[in-house]
């Protein structure tokens, strides 16, 4: 199945990405899409001096936000998927709050948590927690009911069912949700990191944009893409580890 290691394919993907980008740059022929070579040169130039520290801040915020989203989202999603009462009670609530544009909550979040790290992490959390809840809930709901029979007949309690069925069975779906959540967290940085900080890829990209410095802006985007690629392939790796049984 993998004669060539995944690394090779990532290389192909990256090459295609750059080719498409070059084509777009060529076609648009405007500073708003600088050619990849120029961007990469700039990226390498400013990586150590600027991007590294911004990237570090963003990474920590993303991971913290995702961590809390998972911490809240998984138990809630599991319970909503398993107990139809929970689902009935919380689903309408989720359905009502999920579509609220999270930017509208910015004043409230600022009020309660100030302008510091907490607010940014909370914004990320608020954006992705619903995705995790819905995905885990739906994952649990799609477990065929026969799967539970052996545990029912053993008189297993809810903790047993969680450990032996709900978690492993919804793991693939949860990992999908995690992928989507991670990517969402990254792509909303531009609005979670623009207040009260001078660090973070979001800040860096918006700052470059307002400075009409498209080279730096695109360097920032390249950095984000790389963060994304790294996180995604980590999840792929996790999936192969945790869901071995699916990959025979």
């Amino acid at each position: 199945m993998r004669k060539k290691g995944p690394g090779v394919w990532y290389l192909y993907g990256t090459v295609i990405f750059f080719v498409l980008w070059q084509a777009a740059a060529y076609w648009v022929a405007l500073p708003i899409i600088p050619p990849p070579a120029a961007v990469m040169a700039n990226f390498i130039e400013i990586f150590v001096s600027q991007i590294a520290v911004h990237g570090f801040y963003s990474l920590w915020r993303i991971l913290a936000g995702v961590f809390f989203a998972v911490l809240i989202g998984i138990p809630l999603g599991l319970c909503m998927g398993y107990f139809s009462g929970w689902d009935k009670l919380f689903s309408p609530l989720v359905y009502l709050t999920y579509p609220i544009p999270k930017i509208a909550l910015l004043p409230v979040v600022m009020l309660v948590f100030g302008l510091g790290e907490m607010s940014k992490i909370l914004m990320i959390f608020l954006i992705i927690v619903f995705q995790v809840i819905v995905a885990v809930r739906d994952g649990v709901k799609s477990i065929p009911k026969e799967t539970y029979y052996p545990l029912y007949s053993l008189g297993a309690g809810f903790p047993d069912i969680v450990r032996d069925i709900l978690i492993p069975a919804s793991m693939p779906k949860f990992l999908t949700a995690l992928r989507v959540a991670m990517a969402t967290a990254i792509s909303v940085l531009f609005f979670t990191e623009t207040f009260g900080t001078q660090y973070g890829m979001g800040y860096f990209i918006m700052d470059a944009w307002l400075r009409v410095n498209y080279l730096e802006m695109y360097s920032g985007i390249v950095a984000l893409s790389s963060i994304g690629l790294t996180l995604f392939s980590t999840i792929d790796y996790l999936e192969r580890k945790l869901c071995k049984w699916q990959y025979q």
């Binding site: 900080t197 800040y203 918006m206 307002l210 400075r211 009409v212």
Partner: protein
């Protein structure tokens, strides 16, 4: 993490130790320059004041920070003050700041006067100081109220791009991006400086005005020192600082023309009135606020 404070350590001389800190919000525009200078040249410290400058990338985030009590004061405009009042927030204008908004025509348009913009697309952001200035410019040249076709593009860099690539005839831009547009071939039509209108103001929360009177006085002293500095010093000497700290484009070096900074003064009642009239005519606020409701003249007159 703490705004534009630079890396100056806190002043602990006993004489000033009673002063509390001030947190002030900035935007990447020319109004903010005196604050950056005062901070970087140490004028605030000379007054024994610790000012934390927080920069924001969008007016809404800045307003939210003020409304949620995370800022004592901020660079803003008269419209924002009126909106805040109407929205139930207790904030006051303490002085004018010096800003500049310019209407720029794209280089391919053959526009001799503003009249030629009749029926053409002009990019603005709606219900903001940008639209206000645009209306004033149109008014002044005798264009009817709906003479130009206003296109809403709130993101300033996007507005700039659309202008430069000929997708719209003209755009009203704040400095420093107006300078970028002009440098790249755009033609200046008119500006708030030329019209003599100046809607930029410094806003404080009522809580700060009442609780930090000393501090605000000190801040204005430093502000005025910075204005002095800006008046006598050539631009080359501080443009790099402004670019670095103010979030200005590198491109403006050599192109940016700063407005004539004035020492802090209270706004002219006429100007306030003009803004109120404009807002009311467009049904953006219900009640017309009086000068004394909006402006607190205890710091500067």
């Amino acid at each position: 993490l703490t705004g534009c404070t630079g890396n100056k350590t806190e002043d602990t001389s006993p004489k000033h130790s009673q002063l509390q800190g001030l947190t002030i919000g900035l935007m990447p525009d020319v109004d903010s320059i005196p604050f950056i200078i005062a901070q970087e040249k140490g004028y605030f410290k000379e007054e024994g004041l610790t000012v934390t400058l927080k920069s924001f990338k969008s007016a809404m985030e800045r307003d939210s920070a003020l409304q949620s009590g995370n800022l004592d004061g901020t660079i803003s405009d008269m419209l924002a003050e009126a909106f805040a009042k109407a929205g139930g927030f207790d904030t006051v204008i303490t002085s004018l700041t010096t800003g500049s908004y310019k209407m720029v025509v794209n280089k391919n348009e053959t526009v001799a006067s503003i009249k030629d913009l009749q029926g053409k697309d002009v990019a603005v952001s709606k219900n903001t100081v940008i639209e206000y200035v645009t209306d004033k410019i149109a008014d002044e040249s005798g264009l009817p109220a709906n003479g130009i076709n206003k296109v809403v593009i709130p993101q300033i860099p996007a507005r700039l791009e659309m202008l430069q690539n000929g997708k719209i005839a003209a755009a009203t831009l704040p400095e420093p991006l107006a300078s970028v547009a002009i440098k790249n071939g755009g033609k200046l039509v008119n500006s708030s400086d030329r019209l003599g209108i100046n809607p930029g103001v410094l806003l404080f929360t009522a809580k700060a005005v009442n609780g930090k009177e000393q501090e605000i006085h000190a801040m204005y002293r430093a502000y005025n020192k910075a204005v002095d500095y800006l008046a006598k010093e050539p631009l080359e000497n501080y443009i790099d600082l402004v670019i670095a700290k103010g979030g200005f484009p590198q491109d403006v070096k050599g192109a940016l023309v700063l407005p004539q900074y004035k020492k802090a003064v209270a706004p002219d009642p006429k100007d306030i009135d003009a803004v109120m009239t404009w807002l009311q005519a467009r049904q953006l606020i219900k009640n017309k606020y009086s000068y004394s409701e909006l402006v607190d003249t205890r710091f500067v007159r």
